[in-house]
Symmetry: C2
Subunit: 504 residues, 2 copies
Amino acid sequence: MEFEARKAIVILNKDDAAELDVKPLDRVELVLGKRKDTAIVNIAEKLIKEGEIGLYESVVHELKAKEGSRLKIARAPHPASIEFIRKKLEGRMLDKAELDAIIGDVVGDRLSDIEISSFLTALHEKGMVMDEVAALSRSMAENGKRMKWKKVVFDKHSIGGVPGDKTSILLVPTIAAAGFTIPKTSSRAITSPAGTADRFECIAPVDLSWEEIKKVVNKTKGCLAWGGAVDLAPADDIFIKVEYPLSIDPMLLPSVMSKKVAVGAKHLVIDIPTGRGTKIKSISSASDLAGQFIELGSRLGIDVRCLSTFGEQPLGHTIGPALEAREALHTALTGKGPTDYIDKVTALAGTLMGMGGMKNAEAKARHIITSGKAGRKLKQIIAAQGGDPDIKPKDIEVGGECCKVSSNFSGRVWWISNKALVHIAKSAGAPKDKGAGIFLNKKIGDRVRKGETIFEIFSDKPYKLKAAVKAAEGHEIMGIGRHYNMVLKRMPEEKHEKTFILER
Amino acid sequence: MEFEARKAIVILNKDDAAELDVKPLDRVELVLGKRKDTAIVNIAEKLIKEGEIGLYESVVHELKAKEGSRLKIARAPHPASIEFIRKKLEGRMLDKAELDAIIGDVVGDRLSDIEISSFLTALHEKGMVMDEVAALSRSMAENGKRMKWKKVVFDKHSIGGVPGDKTSILLVPTIAAAGFTIPKTSSRAITSPAGTADRFECIAPVDLSWEEIKKVVNKTKGCLAWGGAVDLAPADDIFIKVEYPLSIDPMLLPSVMSKKVAVGAKHLVIDIPTGRGTKIKSISSASDLAGQFIELGSRLGIDVRCLSTFGEQPLGHTIGPALEAREALHTALTGKGPTDYIDKVTALAGTLMGMGGMKNAEAKARHIITSGKAGRKLKQIIAAQGGDPDIKPKDIEVGGECCKVSSNFSGRVWWISNKALVHIAKSAGAPKDKGAGIFLNKKIGDRVRKGETIFEIFSDKPYKLKAAVKAAEGHEIMGIGRHYNMVLKRMPEEKHEKTFILER
């Protein structure tokens, strides 16, 4: 079964379960020869006959069971971590040992999704004090691989929420070219049209092992690898799966910081895109979040600085893995690109380089970018990761199906809906179809004539392009006119927007 | 004493208080001949001699006491409402009778400020269910004057937060000219550079009695009166005084809606200015608030609609009572004025007129404004309130001291700080000095050449102009340049912004 496939679960016949006095979610101990395993109980009336047992893959593997094997079975006590989850549900604080027990059982697949979801709900409802957040972050880092480096390690993280945010692809080579070490691991998209791993995969392989990352970084000082392959704070990946349908995110801080502890970062800059259409709506919310990251960082021995950045429109002109990869590569190689993209990378890279003790760090960061030094470093990283260092932007293939969208009005662009563009790009096939996405011809403040192209949709397949065009027709995408429209929303109104979880 | 002057307070000598076994905030009953009063105890060691008693004005008045009068004094029980406040502090729900007792004692000055502040803190911490909010709103309305009308009454309220928001001065005559009844009462500024009462006072008297309001409305269908003179939901004014230093506002909903119940409104449109630099930062927060107002309205028999409006810059070009009055009067009389001002009034007035059953209400509202019909109705209202109906914008005097501020950069205006402009206008003397304020030459999206005037500060007095110029130098007021600046804020940072209470 696909659902909960990794877990140690067994299915008992209803009568056998009654005989053993176990209910669903109780545990049983199983013995086969000299091998033992503990598993979570599920119960079936017909699927499993009396005297038989159904084993999930992990149990089969653990016991080396075969069709026809004879098992001994007995009721087992619940893992201790369930007591600690219950304690949090009652609103009490958990200490490091209790959190270790929970995370150990999460990573060891000894808790059911229902139990994990209770834990997340308890954290969401009852909250954590900063001591607990720090202990949880450490525990998540310790229950996974940890990187050790001879050099001081720099890192960058974005809270996300801005489509087209190709910052890392230019920031990593800038930092590395300045002489600092930045072993950047990134995620793939969960709900967005592209994650950094999806983007960079259009330029070079990103699915690197821990040994490969080490080699790339020792050679070039930087890397742009997918984090999913290297088992950094794996509890986080399990939590994300449970959170996703719940749409809650009590784990934002420990999730981000456990990965940074695991990767061995000492200096960290966090980008907090801010404003309408992003996750963090106001500068004061950004300040609150920044304060928490800085405080947590100081407890974990990580020096943290945060920038609240303008997030009310996509970064640069492109959305979607291949289109973004083209734009990032072009900017790095030529030292010329969208002002907002270069400004943002300059500010973040300059902040990190300043933390490393460099004077006039921002001016130096800008010079590294515009002089093409960052581009030359990027080529080294591409080569070290197994890509073609001579790759050109036009070598990156974008979708062959294209539709130009033009404006019905003359005037100026007053606002752009990130949400609408994300929806269109995903309808066009991003992130799965790497060539799918959007090229934005106009951004906030730009003049538009009636009939002029404001953006282009790209797709690999005609039927997906059609879906994207339909999505575009159903959304308010840009505010174009002579003035800002005074009415933002009228209420009462039927629809309610769904909240969405923070991508890390 | 000015502090708590309205309250029934007595000051006892320390030894007398010990003899009576009363402590500060306990109550005593006082008898003088046939007159009785209950008062809150304060205690002094030297100010009051043994055997003597200090009486606050309200007690003197109630007992008709004179220097040398002989009083009988005895410990009195605490008012029952204190029990109910304690009940709320424990997180329990209050019923209508309990809320009536509290509001009755608040309005009757039988609770000390400390007790009232405990009540507000309890509401803030423990919250209220919608049944309590409705009961509290009714209770606040019932403990004060209530207006009764033969016609269906329309009303408008703004959550506030946008400087220069002169909406009501144009909206009231528009609604009245459309044939609907709108007896609008407004507040003076608490923390802003101008309230509607401050603005309209530059055009006509606003300090009307209840009988005068009735006469004006029966004659013209509308009025623009100061609400403070007519004792509508007076508990609210007491709560505002206590909340102000606390900077909390659990009373927003009951405060607004109790006044609307008291004024007898049936159809209400609420303006929720939204965005950076306003009180409500995001459209989703505006939706949440709107949902609460609509729900509360339905329980109180008031039909409520809400508009989330763009609030990231001042409305029109002026800030400060006289400057705003000029702009509002000019717009009404000529039917021409700033696009955002006319658009906003059109949307709000059209919504109200649509609630009154009118078809194509927005187009009709716009026609009433642009044709000068609203201006002619405004002249009737001015005359009925005792003003000069032939008043011209230039008759309204603005400050004689003026300073033009010009830009150091060329480019475009990307953002305007409401907060900075409020600070400058207040430094210049607004709202106390009616002529003080700001004329904004440039708004968001406008092109600016280096050296061009972007705004002018007006003041009645040279030293206040100087203070305003200094305030202007200390703030980031507008973002002008070729591009939007990507970094909004860097953290860690020293200062933290104060939260401010919602003005009603």
